[in-house]
């Protein structure tokens, strides 16, 4: 390792020995505050933090083993000399004596294809930018409710990515023709290739939602469940949700889904003051089934926006976990009156049948859901001896989904090309 490092450093020195004077050109030039690189102003500390040499960036980790901007180094470090400029890198010498190189391009900073182009083209999608999402309207029901054939989706990584990107755009994705013997882990880990994905909750790794006498959760009854998001009482409500219909022979019990983002967008245009209340006022959610030893509660506003760009980011809404009693204790009457006005208006739009997609799920059908955006619910059903309605549900962190889309394949070369600089 030291031998390779030594060779790299020698090579870098060579890149400077022919360029003892500061280079000034339209590509890279030193400025008082740092460096102007391809028309973009970089600060001195930023250039030092961006060094991509093997001493500064772990070759296998792609993170910094050292800390160029510990408090003791900042803000004194300065870029003092620009060396060789290649397609993807610029050689730099700093005032702390270090010689290295910084990236000019995505390819230089992230690594070779295909990772670089995915980063450039898919970043906004995996960040759930509203501009990349398609809010449901009456005009595109076929696309949002499209069923994807399992065998096609798992045939190749590109196909899997296409399905997952569709899911991100619409907040929902349907799979069909899943072999009946496959369980949740088979589908998510082995099929979709999302490793270390499933997040355990108070409902374990996989929750089998089926009728129970004396249900410890409303989901285990036969009553209808209005549109809602799950686990609102969690401090960190899970993001991605999987529904795997294992069997469904009851009468009734149709599943339905609603795009809350389209509702919020409409309210932003027509009654923005009500949206503001839903995002400013946190309410308490609680889940404390007796005798189970479970005690979850937390506070959330119903609607949250991205602080940088104002995008609609998350909705949390689970009516029968709302701790109305606590709300009455923690907020003054005037605040509650305003909140209830906003919330009831919002719910009237959520429960407007024209926004809802309804389907009687069949055994072998699978739904991937954005639990921060799309509400799910079911109509009541009647249960008779011999009938079953069994839906397996699990949850997952968003980042594992995003990683599946963005990451390279097993065996792909992702190391930096600094040797070609």
């Amino acid at each position: 390792m030291l031998g390779r490092l030594g060779a790299s450093l020698n090579a870098l020195s060579t890149r400077f020995s022919k360029n003892l004077q500061v280079r000034t050109n339209s590509t890279a030039q030193l400025t008082e505050s740092g460096m102007l690189l391809d028309g973009r102003q970089l600060l001195h500390v930023e250039t030092r933090n961006m060094c991509r040499c093997e001493k500064c960036l772990g070759k296998h980790s792609h993170t910094r083993p050292n800390l160029p901007f510990q408090g003791s180094n900042f803000p004194d470090v300065r870029a003092e000399e620009i060396g060789r400029v290649s397609d993807n890198f610029v050689s730099v010498r700093w005032s702390d004596g270090h010689e290295g190189l910084i990236a000019r391009t995505f390819r230089g900073d992230y690594g070779p294809e295909p990772l670089a182009s995915r980063v450039e083209n898919l970043t906004d999608i995996i960040r759930r930018r509203n501009s990349e999402q398609i809010f449901w309207t009456g005009s595109n029901p076929e696309e949002q409710t499209k069923f994807w054939d399992w065998n096609w989706v798992v045939e190749s990584s590109d196909n899997t990515r296409e399905f997952l990107i569709h899911y991100i755009r619409y907040g929902i994705g349907f799979l069909t023709n899943i072999p009946l013997h496959l369980q949740m882990r088979d589908i998510v880990h082995d099929g979709l290739g999302i490793v270390r994905a499933i997040r355990k909750t108070v409902f374990a790794e996989v929750d089998l939602v089926r009728f129970q006498n004396n249900p410890t959760n409303a989901g285990y009854g036969t009553g209808g469940l209005p549109g809602h998001t799950d686990l609102a009482y969690y401090n960190q409500t899970p993001h991605v949700q999987f529904f795997h219909c294992l069997e469904n022979t009851v009468d009734g019990g149709e599943s339905f889904w609603v795009d809350a983002f389209s509702v919020i967008r409409e309210m932003q245009e027509t009654v923005p003051e009500l949206v503001e209340r839903l995002s400013d006022i946190p309410i308490t959610f609680r889940y404390t089934p007796p005798g189970t030893g479970v005690f979850h509660l937390t506070n959330h506003p119903v609607v949250q926006f991205d602080k940088l760009n104002g995008d609609i980011h998350q909705v949390i809404d689970h009516p029968w976990s709302m701790d109305t009693a606590m709300f009455a204790r923690t907020h003054p009457l005037e605040t509650r009156i305003k909140w209830w006005e906003a919330y009831l208006h919002y719910r009237s739009l959520i429960e407007d049948g024209s926004r809802t997609y309804t389907r009687f799920l069949r055994g072998g059908e699978f739904v991937v859901l954005d639990n921060w955006r799309v509400y799910h619910g079911r109509k009541e059903f009647t249960w008779k001896e011999g009938q079953e309605r069994v839906v397996a549900t699990s949850y997952m962190d968003w980042n594992h989904m995003a990683s599946r889309i963005m990451s390279t394949e097993v065996g792909d070369h992702v190391f930096l090309e600094i040797d070609q600089h």
Binding site: R64, L67, P75, N214, N235, P290, G293, L297, D397
Partner: protein, 357 residues
């Protein structure tokens, strides 16, 4: 149900076994038509839809059918991370470094709650005399009934020991400055157990510092910098082989006026993306604010430092307390440094603190 609703005439509205409403109808225009009177924790009421029922007038009544002992208000506020009941520390006091005996907390639920409350108050809590074999951490969590743990890109149990070609800088032997873990996750893990299996090499002392104390200091003395730390979104990125984890978040997040969460891991700041998100002037001001924070975090006077021994276990609030380690030697006569880490989300720690037995 033999609970209180049976005494008052039925449980049409509230599930006796779920503690959840059975109906979520539209009650927009409903009005109270008659108030019967108060009995114990409830008010008997009739509404103009023809329904008669009971409304709780106390927390005991509000928490479901039957009389149920509610958790202490201190535990409740601690579990919601309210600053008013947290103790920010800028020097390592005896209370901050207080150690709890593992067998005490494992065998006694009240002592375990005391341990968890201490953790929530200080952001840090130490256990000693825990089992010392590899993988024992999962058994410890099971014994303490603090589950489920959180599977992540490092697995359920992350084993931190020296590697020749490290896929993460934690696996080398260099100094790691104070940081919080996995800031690039949309939902960055809230707490983790750091278990020492062996620590036989020279060096490698662990250290921790309280970011909330530093942030409060900046808020009180340099509010402009505080504003930058709470508003500018810092991009993070971690992309070892076959993973691509990325996200953008402010260094300091607030819940109302309370300091709620800190994300700070300088090894994975995506400076390349930062250039694209903000203009140079904004970034320069942010770097100045960030430097102020880092100088406080790296001040030895504000730091707890210990060389952990086999069987020591530290519970760390990853949204508040930063951790790091000194460099350690490798390649000598023998010995090893082996740590194991398991992450857990806040709701599961909260559940253990608040749950009724």
């Amino acid at each position: 149900s033999s609970g209180i609703n049976a005494e008052y005439g039925g449980s049409d509205c509230f599930g006796g076994t779920s503690n959840q409403p059975l109906h979520t109808n539209d009650y927009t225009n409903i009005k109270i038509s008659h108030v019967e009177g108060i009995k114990d924790h409830f008010l008997s009421v009739s509404w103009d839809d023809g329904h008669s029922g009971i409304v709780p007038i106390s927390e005991t009544g509000a928490y479901g059918n039957g009389y149920k002992r509610t958790p202490s208000s201190r535990y409740y506020d601690l579990s919601l991370r309210k600053n008013a009941v947290q103790t920010f520390w800028d020097t390592p006091t005896n209370e901050v470094i207080k150690r709890f005996e593992y067998s005490d907390v494992a065998d006694d639920s009240d002592k375990l709650k005391e341990f968890l409350a201490h953790f929530m108050q200080y952001g840090l809590a130490f256990l000693f005399n825990t089992p010392q074999e590899p993988d024992d951490l999962l058994k410890i969590l099971y014994n303490l009934k603090i589950t489920p743990y959180w599977d992540n890109m490092f697995g359920i149990l992350s084993k931190v020991s020296f590697q020749r070609d490290p896929t993460n800088q934690a696996f080398n032997n260099q100094r790691l400055a104070a940081h919080t873990d996995m800031p690039y996750y949309t939902q960055t893990p809230s707490a983790y157990f750091f278990h020492c299996v062996a620590n036989e090499l020279d060096g490698g002392e662990s250290f921790w510092s309280d970011t909330f104390s530093a942030v409060k200091h900046i808020r009180d003395t340099e509010p402009d910098k505080y504003d930058l730390l709470t508003t500018i979104l810092v991009p993070f990125r971690q992309y070892p082989k076959e993973w691509h984890m990325a996200g953008r978040y402010p260094t300091v997040e607030l819940m109302g006026d309370d300091i709620y969460r800190v994300r700070d891991c300088c090894f994975v700041i995506d400076t390349y993306q930062f250039l694209r998100d903000y203009d140079a002037e904004t970034r320069e001001r942010w770097w100045q604010a960030y430097r102020t924070l880092r100088l406080l975090m790296e001040d030895p006077a504000r730091t707890v430092q210990q060389k952990l021994g086999a069987g020591d276990l530290v519970l760390i609030d990853n949204w508040r307390v930063q951790h790091g380690r000194n460099a350690f030697s490798v390649g000598g006569a023998g010995g090893r440094r082996a740590m194991e880490v398991a992450y857990i989300e806040w709701s599961h720690v909260q559940n253990r603190l608040l749950k009724m037995e």
